[in-house]
């Protein structure tokens, strides 16, 4: 691989806590290897800040493998940055050119208040799952796993929906701050599988209800969520969610 040193200007959102107002601050970083990940570039910046007695920039991250859903930066206006189907932590500096100015902000949505700098509070997602994102069975002695064969096509579709990492980029990407893609992924996974059938109607109704209570906006089908989703969760799931919701709502009126 080619190694190139990049000199960059970063404009980063700094905000002390939820109660104070934030603002952009500019930083220069030099000789950044194109082999680095975006977060490693932030590590370099933070080391630089600490060594000059300044406070480092707070950002969320953990696995750095694109699977925990913790990292969450809006980079040049795009949640998780310029590469499609990629989380912030998997974005590499190869994506940038020497001399670039890069703007970095937190997820912006009323339901995701800023904790500090680039860190936001996504507990609303946990509460939506609490509303019904499960199959109500206790630990015990369920039937043998192979007693219930499942059509591979269905299983694959359920898996594709279940691949959602709960990062919230879909909300950050949406001008209405809608959480429909996230909710639809969980609803779809369980609606597609036989295990999810008994609670199929109650689940969709109460998850959507909780989503509304959390203050997420309406879906107007702009598709920005799918375009920015690092796991490429398909809009088909939103269509399925709408169908599930309609038929559950109708059934509950009867």
């Amino acid at each position: 691989m080619e190694h190139t040193g990049l000199n960059l200007t970063l404009k980063v959102w700094k905000q002390k806590n939820a109660a104070t107002k934030g603002a952009f601050e500019s930083y220069d970083v030099k000789n950044i290897s194109t082999d680095m990940s975006f977060l490693e570039m932030f590590d370099v910046l933070n080391e630089q800040l600490i060594s000059t007695g300044k406070e480092p920039i707070a950002f969320d991250h953990d696995c750095r493998e694109g699977i925990c859903g913790m990292c969450s930066m809006v980079i040049n206006g795009r949640p998780h940055g310029p590469w499609n189907g990629t989380t912030t932590c998997q974005l590499h500096m190869r994506a940038f050119k020497n001399g670039d100015t890069i703007t970095v902000e937190p997820w912006r949505a009323g339901s995701f208040p800023v904790v500090r700098d680039l860190v936001v509070d996504r507990s609303a997602f946990d509460r939506i799952i609490q509303a019904g994102g499960y199959v109500s069975i206790n630990t015990g002695n369920p039937v043998d796993a192979n007693a219930l064969p499942i059509d591979k096509k269905l299983a694959d579709k359920a898996f594709a929906a279940a691949a959602c990492i709960g990062c919230g980029a879909c909300v950050a990407a949406c001008k209405n701050s809608s959480a429909m893609l996230f909710v639809s992924a969980k609803v779809s996974q369980l609606a597609l599988l036989p295990q999810g059938q008994p609670e199929r109607s109650s689940r969709v109704l109460s998850m959507v209800d909780q989503m509304d209570k959390e203050g997420f906006g309406n879906c107007t089908n702009t598709g920005a969520c799918e375009a920015e989703c690092p796991k490429e969760i398909s809009l088909e799931n939103i269509a399925r969610l709408n169908r599930e919701y309609m038929s559950a709502a109708l059934a509950s009126e009867e």
């Binding site: 680095m36 699977i67 925990c68 946990d126 199959v135 369920p142 599988l193």
Partner: protein
């Protein structure tokens, strides 16, 4: 101290059943008055929290991430073992038990491992019932793949995201209990001490990571499900936040630490690319099912891999271990890669890498597809294209990850891989009931030492985490709590809580007031280097003694010269890291001591002084057939206790994969 592992009497096949049917129970009304604190929400913690909440206990769960769903278990890739024998290839509880004991190089406790094998198949049933979308065959049944150290196909998987799907299953069961009011979830909280009163665990001290507030939480029992400590090496495949603090604080309060030096170095990871590197990325062991590992036969061969003809390639694992080939256990594969690279056959710019090649697999799968589809007159290109589709379905996310990190296309050119720190078999010593040496304090999952001996087989950590949480602790904890029903509410005003809280605060203040001139990462990297060089893939007396001296010096420097910006009462990432690194430094020293004590090679622990002429690890059962359980005396001072390992069902033999 006499270590009592509390192994039930009787034949190994009936121990667990007998235990379950004779263990003390807690009636439902009393369960409601018993508080259980669970630290950690990975597979072990989330499954325990959900199961204990379902039983009616009052559970408080803690994790340092912003959601329990983000625990490090989420990153597990390849799969989970279970002795289902769905493939009709001769699997059984006994065989899984045997493979695990042998894989662990005869350094694990028989009774625990047998129980693990016994409950394994229940785990798969439970997960499927939760809606975990495991991979399936066209007939609708579950699919299996092979992992290292076994000759059967018993690994269940969900593409390269098995840990994610299993954790989301446990997480959703946990959130269901939160909704029902049985579990109180505390995210962005870090446990910083255990509170022990009159010899019994009574609670924890935790820091709210958002506000910096120090909180006291009381409970009748505390479960540590806090994962492994591979990050003591700085670079590892673990998530950035994985740490030893919870276990280490428990150790300082009296819990023995077992086999700390048993570290698993995983053979297939993306090699280090520069000084900036913050973590290493695993390429799942499942890739060794289909990939072939090789280096050039010529030293310092600078040709591109595709320009090196077949006869000039050394498929060294297939050559050295014909019976298991590319599927030898991890410790064996790692050492073999190191051996080739040290001898000058490594590839890539750093020369510290070997190839993992998919060309043959792609062609083989392409041909199978041609057969399946009944195609004729097919060009080589079309076969390759079909084969790539199959490989993409099986390993797509791993190949994508490789491409993003390295900028190379693994469908076209072999991947470059090298061993990296991955898992820690060592951990808090626990008895058959998963209880540590402190009453009321339990350890589950990677945080305990129990099942994997000196080397863990692939796909067995997920199995163990879920076994501990779903199927073991719900029974064993009752045996302790049945005697706690008269304790009543535990007040956090007890002086022991106050003292623990003050000590925690004092330490935090020390960090921010130190105002030195070196960052926390500086110390972490320095420690990692010492550990990797002298307590890594190969260890010897001289190196370990040197490492202990260096770590002691590093500890002094850390406390005098660390720079932690900001204050204690705010969201402060550097402060969190400082606490973790302080504990890693103390642990690192203990690991070296343990490695020094064990002058034999077993599993992941390779003492250069103890090897055969062919360079294979040489165990010394006469002297070292014990679990080394260390008692904390002071920083840098520990006392060794031994739990002898007794094998009644498996005949100890030299481990051979040839």
């Amino acid at each position: 101290m006499e270590l009592n592992s509390k192994i039930p009497a009787g034949p190994v096949e009936t121990k667990w059943t007998k235990y379950k049917s004779s263990v003390k129970l807690v009636n439902p009304a009393n369960k409601r008055n018993l508080d259980i604190i669970i630290v950690g929400t990975g597979l072990a913690g989330a499954s325990a929290a959900a199961s204990l909440g379902e039983l009616g206990y009052k559970v408080k769960a803690f994790c340092f991430q912003d959601s329990p769903r983000r625990a490090h278990s989420i990153a597990a890739q390849g799969g989970i073992n279970a002795a289902k024998n769905y493939q009709n290839d001769g699997d059984s509880t006994y065989r899984l038990f045997y493979d695990t004991i042998k894989g662990g190089d005869y350094r694990a406790r028989e009774a625990n491992v047998y129980r693990l094998a016994e409950v394994s198949s229940n785990i798969i049933d439970q997960c499927v019932a939760q809606g975990v979308p495991f991979a399936r065959e066209y007939g609708g049944l579950l699919s299996n793949r092979s992992f290292g150290g076994t000759q059967v196909q018993r690994t269940f998987y969900a593409a390269g995201q098995t840990g994610q799907q299993l954790l989301l299953g446990a997480y959703s069961a946990l959130e269901r209990q939160v909704a029902l009011g049985n579990v109180e979830m505390h995210t962005r909280h870090e446990m910083l001490d255990v509170v022990v009163i009159d010899g019994k665990t009574r609670g924890i001290i935790a820091r709210n990571l958002i506000t910096g507030e120090i909180e006291r939480h009381a409970g009748h029992a505390v479960l540590l499900c806090t994962g492994g400590y591979g990050n003591v090496f700085y670079l590892s495949t673990n998530a950035m936040g994985s740490n030893v603090t919870a276990a280490w604080k428990a150790h300082k309060k009296g819990a023995f630490f077992a086999n700390p030096c048993f570290t698993q170095i995983h053979p297939t990871c993306i090699p280090v690319s520069g000084d900036h590197q913050s973590k290493l990325t695993l390429m799942s062991e499942s890739l060794r099912n289909d990939g072939r590992i090789w280096v050039p036969k010529k030293q310092n061969d600078d040709r591109k891999p595709i320009d090196i003809p077949e006869e000039e390639r050394d498929y060294y694992l297939e050559r050295r271990y014909p019976a298991f080939g590319n599927l030898v256990p991890r410790d064996v594969a790692s050492r073999a890669a190191k051996e080739r690279c040290d001898a000058g056959y490594g590839v890539g710019t750093s020369k510290m890498a070997v190839y993992l090649d998919y060309a043959a697999a792609i062609e083989r799968y392409g041909k199978i597809e041609v057969g399946k589809k009944g195609l004729s007159n097919i060009s080589k290109e079309e076969i390759i294209a079909l084969g790539k589709d199959v490989v993409k379905e099986k390993y797509g996310n791993l190949f994508d990850m490789y491409a993003k990190i390295t900028g190379e296309n693994p469908y076209e050119t072999p991947m470059r891989i090298y061993p990296a720190v991955h898992y820690t078999m060592g951990g808090l010593w626990v008895d058959y009931e998963l209880k540590t040496t402190v009453d009321g304090l339990y350890a589950l999952g990677e945080a305990n030492f129990s099942d994997h001996g000196a080397n863990r087989l692939g796909a067995s950590a997920l199995m163990q985490g879920l076994a501990d949480g779903y199927f073991v602790i719900p029974y064993t904890i009752g045996n302790y709590l049945a005697d706690e029903i008269r304790t009543g509410h535990i007040s956090t005003d007890h002086p022991a809580f106050l003292q623990a809280e003050n000590e925690v605060k004092e330490t935090l203040n020390k960090f921010v007031n130190c105002k030195g001139n070196k960052s926390v990462d500086y110390f972490h990297k320095a420690l990692g280097k010492i550990m990797w060089n002298d307590c890594g893939m190969a260890r010897n007396k001289e190196g370990l003694e040197k490492a202990i001296k260096e770590i002691k010096a590093l500890r002094t420097e850390f406390w005098n010269n660390v720079m932690v910006p900001g204050t204690v009462d705010e969201f402060n990432v550097e402060l969190e890291k400082a606490g973790r690194v302080a504990d890693f430094i103390e642990l690192g020293e203990l690991m070296c001591k343990d490695a020094l004590d064990r002058n034999e090679s077993c599993g992941g622990h390779f003492r250069e002084e103890s090897q055969t002429e062919e360079g294979e690890a040489e165990r010394n059962d006469e002297i070292y057939s014990y679990v080394a359980a260390w008692k904390y005396i002071n920083a840098g001072e520990s006392e060794l206790n031994k739990e002898p390992l007794i094998y009644e069902n498996i005949k100890i033999a030299a481990r051979s994969y040839k």
